[in-house]
Symmetry: C2
Subunit: 236 residues, 2 copies
């Protein structure tokens, strides 16, 4: 019973993270302490500590005397996301190329294999999680404690936004996903050859593609309906 207990906390944290990233727990959802502690065989004390930790990482919002909530996503946050992401992603990938250790490169390759597998025959959830994992590894590679907090915060909402566009709804979106996978390969290459400039450029390209994918969802193809005023309504 030594690491079992510690694992229960980790399990709970892991479960909540995955549920939030995949939108199974939607933004704004209230979390019931008693219910969760029962489900994971934990008392409320350690559970509340996990809540605090996840709140610090940006998964949850805590309000005193109120239930913990899955952190919200509004249009404001989406706008902030678009402003911050290119800069942070670029910096992280540049540093990843500069500092990646061999074991981390292996981890990145493994993550990319899992991503490809998810693209082939995985559901939207698996794709978003695999993509998330890939980028988490690049964050670890960068090893910069000052950039990681923002980067990981971005990854959370990138996954959540992605959960909508990793459910491809048009041929164009499917193409984009396969291009994203090719970019991942190129990123691995740039990191392995320590090519910081290429890594930074790939970050920009990768981000632009991701943004296009999001826009395809936000602004879908117009419906195929002729323009002009509709015929006068005929009273029933």
């Amino acid at each position: 019973m030594k690491d079992v207990a510690k694992t229960r906390k980790t399990q709970l944290a892991e479960h909540l993270k995955v549920s939030i990233l995949t939108l199974r727990l939607q933004p704004g959802t209230d979390l019931d302490e008693v219910h969760l502690s029962d489900a994971f065989g934990l008392s409320r004390t350690p559970l509340r500590e996990v809540f605090r930790q996840l709140a610090g990482e940006g998964y949850l919002d805590l309000r005193t005397n109120r239930s913990a909530r899955v952190s919200e996503m509004s249009y404001t946050t989406l706008r902030d996301f678009f402003l911050a992401a290119p800069m942070i992603y670029g910096a992280i990938l540049r540093l990843a190329a500069a500092n990646a250790k061999p074991v981390q490169i292996e981890a990145l390759k493994t993550a990319q294999q899992a991503f490809k597998a998810a693209l082939r025959d995985g559901a939207a959830e698996e794709r978003a999680l695999a993509n998330n994992r890939f980028h988490e590894v690049t964050g670890e590679m960068s090893g910069n404690v000052y950039l990681l907090p923002s980067f990981n915060r971005l990854l959370i909402d990138h996954a959540r936004i992605g959960m909508t566009f990793y459910r491809p709804q048009s041929g164009r979106m499917v193409e984009n996903l396969s291009e994203a996978s090719q970019q991942h390969d190129a990123i691995i290459d740039a990191i392995e050859t320590r090519d910081e400039t290429a890594a930074a450029q790939l970050a920009e390209d990768h981000w632009n593609l991701s943004r296009d994918q999001i826009e395809l969802f936000v602004m879908p193809d117009a419906l195929d309906v002729p323009m002009g005023l509709p015929p006068l309504s005929k009273p029933a």
Copy 2:
């Protein structure tokens, strides 16, 4: 007894933050739960929650079955700091100029007054804290939830590094501090006039000045000793 209890947690968190920022609690210091909970009239349960929160913000490091520790500062972190700070500070100040609300501008002016007062007749601790407060407000102004985690993480170590160089040890360092104060005024101006470009430029200038100040400490003026080999040691 309603907000008194909640205040005790806040008080504890505030106390720890200030102590860590001012190096009264030095990096690596172990924190005793029982001792602290006694001192603040809290039981260990809420105290541990505060620990988790502060760990998430970067003040503490938690290790299972070991005491909580004030987060470390090594040469590696200093290097990472120099890499990340210019980018984040620039982005924050640019966004601050774009989004600052009137009440926040008032808060910034108040913070600047406190900073000037601390420069006139305050100790090193007060100066570092006042400077920290000034920049915290600019962070609030930016209002970007994705940049704030890294920005606030940077501010912690900037204050701690600053605690060494806000204790001016040479005429040059005193000049730098007064220039820093002037730059604060210029920053307020740029924000009030919504001049994003000026704000970004000032961020760079302000950072360069800060870096110079740090370098003055890391690499002090050479001792006034003639070069060349020392005379042969004469055995006592």
